[in-house]
């Protein structure tokens, strides 16, 4: 999202809140306008759906493959509809409520496509959309597939895993360069374009990751029929409008957070119904306070992203400057700060680049999250927090509980917990003892953490560097897990007076400070794997940090 897009989205909020006390329309010329606004307020649900659909197309970047910037958002809508069909296997009544939604979606898509015929309006998409006939054929294909899927999957929940697998395969295609390039070649071939020009950058599917996470979660919830938490019933039976609005909710489209459907839908339903007169004894659930709070959060996010992060980007470690950092003398500049030795000087500047990257990625990502949360708040949805001062945590486990929290929680809920539960309930692992350092429970934790981190790493891209980054963190998490376990056992056997609780406050504070510093540096060094495209360059940078290598 750029600043213009953020401003437009924020301005749309003006439509959603009635003017004046109790939304009473004004007299005179303003009367008609106010009536329109009240109508819009009454149709908040539709506003969110239409805005999200338009945003899906507007935010999609252009591609050299003809009309791909139209078809990728359309594919997102089709996938979402398909998943709704197979999850909720709607009955006749549900289909009846879905008809207006389908009509609106098709109308919006047709409207976007029709802009190709009106030059002054063209185009909300990055390039000219395809002709209406092609779009109609596309919509018919989606309809046929959805109908087929509804028949195929009706009452067969376990078959939904095949769709999960399909989404994972799509992930791999989009994250593995060689596969993306092949995919691009296929698309180019279908379009009658030169396949030799196929490039990884051709296929940039906006929001696919987050859309897929939400769809996989919905599918897995259906397969496992997750029981509701006490007092929190799972809201089954989301209407098509609700489901699509949840999956492609535009504030959270580009950078999350990944909200859970059951939590999101409560805010949504609360918001879309606030046009009804509230009982006198209950406050309005959403109002100007939310708009003000949301606007404040957006401003904070804009500052973090477009001021701090973008400035830090100038000096942050990247594939080009990592190879350019040289010792003084090599480029003729005098040794500075009296550092004398070239290697030391080089090491210090390399540290500066690494620190800059660490803070840049935090401000960039958390800035986007602030913007998403702020926009969401304005539209009545309190999206979950994604960051909680992650660089001020005293250990790696707490770091991962405060960094991209919604992603960590997603992987915990849909991978780590199921896999460790499955391993624990499985029969004994014959080659591992029940006691000692390498006992079965330790192995399960190690396996769970390594594979979870690997999946998180591979989600960013299927490269050796992301694997190295994953292993780096997995080892760190495992080491911390074992250390905590060791400390717990030692404290249990020690004299209570020597336990942590009885340590001097100053000593404890010092220990916490050192832990925070150590954790931050572990994470910052881990970013070297993340930021650079090759393992050899990463190792070179690690060497330079300690004055080794030229």
């Amino acid at each position: 999202m750029n600043l213009t897009q953020i401003l437009v989205f924020a301005a749309m909020v003006a439509l959603l809140y009635p003017k004046g006390p109790n939304g009473k329309p004004s007299r005179g010329l303003a009367c008609t306008w106010d009536r329109i606004r009240i109508r819009v307020v009454q149709g908040r649900g539709w506003v969110i759906l239409v805005a999200s659909t338009l945003a899906l197309y507007w935010l999609q970047s252009s591609s050299p493959i003809r009309s791909l910037d139209f078809w990728l958002p359309t594919a997102s809508l089709a996938l979402t509809t398909l998943v709704w069909v197979v999850i909720y296997t709607p009955d006749r009544a549900a289909w009846r409520t879905a008809v207006p939604t389908i009509a609106v979606i098709i109308g919006v898509v047709a409207l976007i496509a029709s802009t190709r015929y009106f030059d002054p309006l063209c185009c909300i998409t990055a390039t000219r959309p395809p002709d209406i006939f092609t779009v109609t054929v596309g919509i018919l294909i989606v309809a046929v597939i959805s109908a087929g899927a509804a028949i195929l999957f009706r009452g067969r929940a376990r078959r939904l895993n095949w769709i999960v697998l399909g989404l994972i395969v799509l992930f791999v295609v989009l994250k593995l360069d060689i596969a993306t390039q092949a995919f691009s070649a296929i698309l180019r071939g279908l379009n009658g374009q030169d396949t030799a020009q196929a490039a990884v950058s051709d296929v940039r599917w906006l929001g696919f990751s987050y859309i897929a996470f939400r769809l996989i979660a919905a599918l897995r919830d259906r397969v496992t029929a997750r029981p509701a938490a006490p007092g929190k019933p799972v809201p089954t039976g989301l209407s098509l409008r609700e489901f699509i609005s949840y999956v492609i909710f535009f504030p959270a489209l580009t950078a999350g957070p990944i909200d859970r459907a059951d939590r999101w839908i409560k805010d949504y339903r609360n918001f879309v119904q606030t046009h009804q007169p509230a009982p006198a004894t209950t406050p309005r659930p959403f109002g100007m306070d939310d708009v003000v709070a949301g606007a404040g959060r957006i401003l904070l996010g804009v500052f973090k992203k477009f001021v701090i992060a973008d400035m830090l980007a100038i000096i942050a470690l990247n594939s080009i400057n990592a190879a350019q950092v040289t010792a003084p003398g090599v480029h003729g500049s005098a040794s500075f700060w009296g550092l004398g030795d070239g290697g030391l000087n080089q090491a210090i500047w390399t540290w500066v680049l690494v620190y800059a990257y660490a803070w840049r990625i935090l401000f960039d990502f958390s800035g986007y999250t602030d913007i998403a949360i702020g926009l969401g708040r304005m539209f009545g949805i309190k999206l979950p927090e994604n960051f909680d001062r992650p660089y001020f945590k005293p250990n790696l486990t707490l770091f991962w509980n405060s960094w991209h929290m919604s992603l960590s929680q997603w992987f915990r809920a849909y991978y780590f917990n199921p896999i460790t539960r499955a391993l624990r309930s499985a029969k004994e692992t014959p080659f591992l003892p029940e006691q000692g350092f390498f006992r079965q429970s330790t192995f399960i934790i190690l396996f769970g953490q390594v594979t979870t981190m690997l999946l998180i790493g591979l989600w960013h891209g299927i490269t050796w560097n992301f694997i190295a980054w994953s292993v780096w963190h997995a080892v760190g998490l495992f080491a911390h897990n074992r250390w905590t376990d060791y400390q717990r056992r030692r404290n249990a056997s020690d004299d209570p007076e020597s336990t942590e609780q009885n340590e001097l406050p100053l000593r404890r504070r010092l220990a916490t400070t050192l832990s925070v510093l150590a954790t931050f540096h572990f994470v910052a060094l881990g970013w070297i794997w993340f930021a650079l495209p090759s393992v050899s360059l990463s190792i070179q940078v690690f060497g330079r940090l300690v004055g080794i290598g030229g």
């Binding site: 006198a280 100038i314 480029h331």
Partner: protein, 398 residues
């Protein structure tokens, strides 16, 4: 409580909810306008330009900031003369007793287009460890800037001399392309610094129009924070790129590829629209040279007619290179020699010093080896700059 009372309370609450953001926005707007107006009235860009992290947090640049592709060059072009100079290593430290400080001014060849900072003419002079006759070590500072305009050279020189930099000599590398009157104010650096440029025109009587429409006179809005947002962002970026300069020593896109300077030339005999046989009295701004000499005052100034590429390709019988028809360049050289002689300027003409192979993408941009050849050629002249011009004749006499 009566329902009517509740409705009234609700209305009051809703009204209060509305009034708060409106008040916040109103106050923010008023503060925004006030700050912008104050900024516009004070116009603190000059003062802000002097605040620099260069020479404090990271080393000063070896040449003035200029960058067409900042993200690759770790360098950015700014139009704030004070910021440009503040980022230069020249502003770093007081001059040591044994330093013979030489300022180099000139165009892109002096700045070192396509050369690393270690390969520019200034760097080659420093590498030669030249000693003056009184034993001081020559230390050259590159104040070249990639624009061909003598007025720009004088502008930078005057600004630099205002700072306490104690130069012992000035080396001014010139070429004909910097002389045409129509080139003097063509660049945004001059156009966006109307006040100091007009000051030059009036103080030194330059034959330029002080009301030239190319000058950009900022309006009240242009001087606000909003109006100056680009300049302010560039100042910040210049500081940030200082980190990358310190870390890498790069100040020009190292991946920059180029086409070699043209050898086969067009059969065009005009120069900036001027036809042979000779220049008119107002075609070239020789008075800018006089202005530079006056600005230098007692500081010895050596004017150098810099090397150019001499083509042997098509139409080389009528043109030396892409820039110059033969008649124009020959006449320019003759005029320079006459003027230097008449004004008793220290002048050296090295136009044919470098062979064709030592030029890069232009008829005036040379290779590192070319820069070294030029430095070697100028060595004697530079070291002689420590000798007062009155005694120079005796030394040069056979």
């Amino acid at each position: 409580m009566e329902p009517s009372q509740l409705t009234g309370m609700q209305a009051a609450t809703t009204s209060a909810r509305w009034s708060m953001p409106i008040r916040v926005m109103l106050k923010a707007f008023v503060l925004f306008v006030v700050f912008n107006l104050i900024f516009s009235v004070i116009d603190p860009m000059t003062v802000l330009g002097r605040f620099s992290a260069y020479n404090i947090l990271f080393p000063g640049r070896q040449r003035l900031p200029y960058g067409d592709h900042p993200e690759l060059a770790y360098n950015v072009s700014v139009l704030n003369l004070d910021a440009m100079l503040a980022s230069h290593e020249l502003m770093a430290a007081p001059k040591s007793a044994d330093e013979f400080r030489v300022l180099l001014i000139g165009d892109s060849s002096t700045w070192g287009w396509l050369l690393k900072p270690t390969d520019t003419l200034a760097a080659q002079i420093n590498r030669a460890h030249m000693k003056t006759s009184d034993g001081r070590t020559v230390r050259a500072y590159n104040l070249g800037y990639p624009i061909m305009s003598l007025t720009k050279d004088v502008l930078i020189l005057v600004r630099a001399l205002h700072a306490d930099i104690q130069p012992d000599a000035i080396l001014w590398l010139v070429t004909l392309e910097s002389f045409p009157t129509d080139k003097q104010l063509f660049h945004p650096l001059l156009q966006n610094n109307p006040s100091p440029t007009r000051d030059l025109i009036s103080r030194y009587g330059l034959a330029l129009d002080p009301n030239d429409p190319q000058f950009i006179t900022p309006t009240l809005f242009d001087r606000t924070i909003v109006g100056r947002r680009r300049d302010l962002a560039d100042l910040v970026r210049l500081q940030l790129y200082g980190v990358m300069w310190a870390a890498t020593g790069i100040d020009q896109d190292p991946s920059m590829d180029y086409e070699p300077a043209a050898i086969d030339l067009e059969p065009d005999i005009t120069f900036h629209g001027i036809k042979p046989p000779s220049f008119g009295p107002r075609d070239l701004t020789f008075d800018a040279l006089t202005a530079g000499k006056q600005a230098a005052g007692a500081i010895p100034l050596l004017i150098v007619n810099e090397p150019i590429l001499r083509s042997n390709g098509r139409n080389s019988d009528i043109r030396y290179n892409y820039f110059y028809p033969r008649w124009a360049y020959d006449q320019y050289r003759a005029m320079m020699t006459d003027m230097a002689s008449a004004q008793s300027w220290r002048y050296i003409d090295v136009w044919d010093l470098l062979p064709q192979g030592e030029f890069t993408n232009s008829a005036v941009h040379y290779t590192p080896a070319g820069a070294k050849l030029l430095a070697d050629r100028l060595a004697d002249s530079i070291t002689h700059l420590s000798i007062p011009s009155g005694q120079l004749g005796k030394i040069n006499a056979p």
